[in-house]
Amino acid sequence: MPSYAFNRSGSPPGDHRSRLGGPCNIPIILFTLCECSPERLPCLVEYLKATQLFPRPYPRFTSYLYKVYETIPPLVTSWYTIWAKVIVIVATYRRVITLLNRESLRPCGADLSPNVVEQLDTTSTTTGPDIRRRMLKGRRDDVSNMADFSRVLGVSIQIVCRGFIRYSRHNLPPESRLPEHLEILKSLPVKLLTQLEIPVLAFQETEIYDIHCPRCTGALNFRNHGSRNDWVWVRAGTEDMDGALRGRLPAKLVALFKTQTTDARIECAASLAFSL
């Protein structure tokens, strides 16, 4: 065991690094942070390993944990709050899901902070594949609906709507499909973004990811130079399609955006009704 020790009375921490520093490992950190019963820790670690949530390499996770620990409020009255937070963070770090549900974290009298409860409630207790999430960044403020979207792209609204309708028919369940009325589609809420972050496995690696950042600035300049609309690979079909490309086709990015497809139909219809 390392020489450091947490103040188990829950008093405010002093120097996080000195207490977390040294040749420590994750189980000890988890154990110390959680102050859980010793017999429960091996189960937790085994669970982490089995679900590949146990982060590797350790040093990277340890430094991450430092940051997490610094976000814990200084006056923590319940160590179970910290435990809950760490569990959520572990899951978040691997971008998977939480391990335990709220009930299993709540012993008699333990109070979980509302944000922890919220996080736990919004995550599943079942395991799943390690899906590294793509991130959209760089929101543009000059687009709020489909009409703006079409104007900014410099593409006719008919072409844009045709693309949306085709997507809706092929990819959305019947109850979520977009309306196919042009006037309603024009007011569909749209948020336009300029950058996508895609985690891609590094060459000949199984756990290390490179981040690809395709950008799509439309007609806007990128860093005082010309516009940038990158080429990307898109999985467009099955592996027996497109010869050597095996169902993956290069495509030029035209726009990156978010839109609401479920309730949007109602909102759009309502706004249209009010405008009439």
Binding site: R162, Y167, W233, L245, A251
Partner: protein, 73 residues
Amino acid sequence: MRRLAGVQFVRGVNSGRISDVHSLVTIQMKEDAREITVVDIGTIIGLAHLIPVGERRWIVNSRIDKRTFNEVY
């Protein structure tokens, strides 16, 4: 909230078969280049490296990873 992308697809020359000359696939822009296809961003799997070889034609560099390419060139 759905996270989507508008893209313009290309089509593979010679049905996407590799060339006898350079052993790479050549692509070209479709006739109706203004057509936009909406896709989920989950189907975008990474940046593509294309080498222009003429009017609306490109060779797909699928042979070496970009890091190696940047180190060599």
